[in-house]
């Protein structure tokens, strides 16, 4: 239960929270987005992890592709060069008898079909000999261009070999064989390119799927957080849905059990406090009744008799000493009567349960209004039932009393406004009390009197809410008391008569 100091402690963050509330709403969407992509989010981390593995795999695959392509190209080029050499030397040998220009053209023509090499034929004078072949065909033979970096990674060193064409001892030209890896590289690029595109698309799909999947898997976590927050603000009715994942399901099961246990403990606590209050109230009422009816009657008789003695003694010729004693007895009785009245006032407002609650409250307001330069009290007390049962009646009475006294003593207010109404909502009716002052506001730390914190206990034991908060130009004490229908009928030991 709350101690006076803790009311103040609650109030300070309360205010700060409210001050921060406005920008938080505006930035709420941004905040959610930020949190969503934050590196601290488990989901983002999981996706980033998968992405890292993907990238490593891609790098490895790339390296392997490059290595394989390099070897393959080197082998291809070597074999092509060998073939070209063979073909050139064969051609030269076979075509010894042919006229020189024809020979050269024929060689050129032959070699266009050999892949991975480039043959240049030049006559004796060094002019290039071109066969009749369509230059387009030459162009077509060239494979699609690989990007320069790719060629650079793969290309073996260019090999060049010159074959002098010697016929009958006479050199008629030169055949230059140049290794030409670009088409091979192009092929490798084609292959790599297709692979990159496919794996990229595939990975995007996988990552997207994972992102959604993690989102669904981790969805219970924010719900768990919300649930814990609920428990924090004493909303013990909160229960979580059971997620399909075993691990999270275990957590939510235990959460629900813990919430249930807390709720049960809270209920037990409340019913105990309620019993305690009822017992205390009953005891006080019995004591008060005894003092009111019995002691009051006896003191009356005592005073009357003492006064009678006093009057008789005064008439006696030598009754001075008797009247003196009698006077003392009268004075003593009056003192005891005064004490009796004060104890009664402290114990319990005797009119409560005897006359309608509203009249008791108005009497209270009249007593407290404007006394000794205190603040004026404005009241707006709506229609109330004559009684809500002894426990609720006394709670309402004490709340109003302590709330007003608190405002009068500590707020330095000019005006206190009290509103008290019964609220009837379907299935639940309640008493709403609001006491607003125009005083100095909440002091930090707030010192709630013993009376007020006692009221908080009472109100909470009756499942009500009790709130002290700063309001524009003062403080508002807001109390809500739910009404138990059965109890509101006034089926109580001191069932009011209202005759």
């Amino acid at each position: 239960m709350t101690t006076p100091a803790s009311i103040g402690a609650e109030t300070a963050p309360d205010r700060r929270e409210r001050a921060a509330a406005a920008p938080a709403v505006a930035g709420g969407r941004f905040e959610a987005l930020r949190q969503f992509f934050s590196l601290r989010s488990l989901r983002t981390r999981l996706v980033l992890g998968v992405l890292a593995i993907d990238l490593a795999a891609a790098a490895l695959t790339g390296a392997v592709i490059v290595l394989k392509a390099r070897t393959a190209t080197k082998l291809e080029i070597a074999s092509s060069m060998q073939l070209a050499e063979q073909v050139v030397s064969d051609s030269i040998r076979l075509l010894q008898d042919a006229p020189a220009p024809l020979l050269l053209k024929s060689i050129d023509l032959h070699f266009q079909s050999i892949r991975h090499v480039k043959i240049e034929v030049a006559d004796a004078a060094g002019r290039p000999v071109l066969s009749a072949l369509n230059p387009d065909a030459r162009a077509r033979q060239e494979a699609p261009d690989a990007p320069a970096w790719f060629s650079f990674l793969i290309a073996p060193p260019i090999e060049v070999q010159n074959f002098p064409v010697v016929i009958r001892g006479e050199s008629i030209g030169v055949v230059t064989i140049r290794s030409e890896p670009s088409d091979e590289i192009g092929e490798a690029w084609n292959y790599a390119y297709a692979l990159i595109v496919t794996t990229f698309c595939l990975n995007i799909i996988v990552l997207g799927a994972l992102f959604l999947f993690f989102g669904r898997v981790l969805a219970p976590l924010p719900r768990l957080v919300a649930g814990l927050k609920d428990l924090e603000i004493k909303n013990y009715a909160v229960r979580l849905l059971r997620p399909s994942l075993v691990e999270l399901a275990t957590i939510t099961d235990h959460f629900n059990k813990a919430a249930e246990a807390l709720s049960a403990a809270h209920d037990a606590n409340r019913s105990l406090t309620r019993k305690l209050l009822t017992a205390q109230d009953d005891e006080r009422r019995r004591t008060a009744l005894e003092l009111h009816d019995e002691a009051g009657a006896c003191l009356f008789a005592l005073e009357v008799n003492a006064t009678s003695i006093l009057n008789m003694a005064r008439r006696l010729p030598d009754g001075a000493h008797i009247s003196e004693r009698a006077q003392d007895v009268v004075a003593l009785v009056e003192t005891v009567q005064g004490i009796n009245r004060r104890v009664l006032d402290r114990l319990r407002p005797m009119a409560l349960g005897q006359i309608p609650l509203k009249q008791c409250l108005i009497k209270l307001l009249v007593d407290l209004d404007g006394g000794e330069g205190g603040p004026a009290i404005d009241q707006a007390i709506g229609d109330l039932r004559p009684s809500y049962g002894p426990l609720v009646d006394l709670t309402i009475y004490r709340c109003v009393q302590e709330g007003l006294l608190n405002a009068i003593r500590h707020a330095h207010a000019n005006r206190i406004t009290i509103a008290l109404n019964e609220r009837d909502e379907p299935g639940l009716s309640s008493i709403a009390i609001s006491i607003r002052d125009d005083g100095i506001g909440l002091r930090q730390p707030l010192r709630a009197g013993v009376g007020l914190s006692g009221m908080r206990e009472r109100v909470e034991a009756l499942s009500g809410s009790f709130e002290i908060k700063a309001a524009p130009g003062g403080v508002v004490l807001a109390i809500a008391l739910p009404l138990d229908r059965a109890e509101a009928q006034g089926e109580a030991p001191d069932s009011p008569t209202f005759s």
Binding site: H292, A301, N305, A351, G353
Partner: protein, 212 residues
């Protein structure tokens, strides 16, 4: 010879009352200890004065119904309530039911004697303190025109109705002249009254401090 009926369920109170009455020279006293027997005794003896408690064993404020029954059977019945209940709302109810006076059991017996003498003559009597409380309660609690007034304003209005000047009101209440004038303009605003003359007229005919 004045006859008195005392209805109280405490023998000590009965005895005490008899003592006071004896001191006043009244010996003709009837007693009853329940509401029913009290009413019967009243019908049989028709006493000049009835002294009644409000609280009876197992019947809180049962005295109120006794007062009502007596008052309705005899409009001229002179009833004095002697009770421990000091709540003005209860006092008010007792007076509404037909009591002429209300005395608290823990007031001095001289107060009781004074009240009894008044009642005997058929005049109402209420101690100053109780009268004030009842008046305040009525001013605040009733849905009357004056319910919005503060207790200070009620006091001022009441004094105004009795013909006091602002100076006198200020002196009587121990407040400044300025406070009185401010209160009067506040009262006028609340009652929607424009002039001082109208305000005084209102105070005379609606004296919120007139009590019972």
């Amino acid at each position: 010879m004045t006859s008195v009926l005392i209805v109280d369920d405490h023998s000590m109170v009965l005895q005490g009352c008899r003592r006071v009455l004896a001191d006043m020279g009244i010996e003709h006293v009837y007693e009853a200890t329940t509401v029913v027997s009290g009413y019967r005794a009243f019908l049989r003896h028709h006493p000049d004065v009835v002294i009644a408690d409000l609280t009876f064993q197992g019947d809180d404020l049962g005295g109120l119904s006794l007062i009502r029954r007596i008052a309705s059977s005899d409009r001229k019945a002179r009833i004095l309530v002697l009770s421990m209940h000091n709540d003005p709302a209860i006092v008010s109810r007792a007076l509404e039911s037909g009591a002429l006076s209300y005395v608290l059991k823990d007031m001095s017996s001289s107060e009781f004697s004074t009240a009894f003498e008044k009642v005997q003559l058929g005049e109402p009597h209420l101690s100053h303190r109780l009268a004030m409380q009842v008046a305040m309660l009525r001013a605040k609690g009733d849905d009357s025109a004056t319910k919005d007034l503060t207790s200070r304003e009620v006091q001022i209005l009441s004094l105004l109705g009795k013909g006091n000047s602002y100076d006198k009101i200020a002196a009587k209440l121990g407040i400044s002249y300025k406070t009185v004038t401010n209160a009067c303009s506040s009262i006028r605003a609340k009652l929607k009254i424009n002039t001082l003359a109208e305000l005084i007229r209102f105070a005379i005919y609606n004296d919120p401090g007139r009590g019972s």
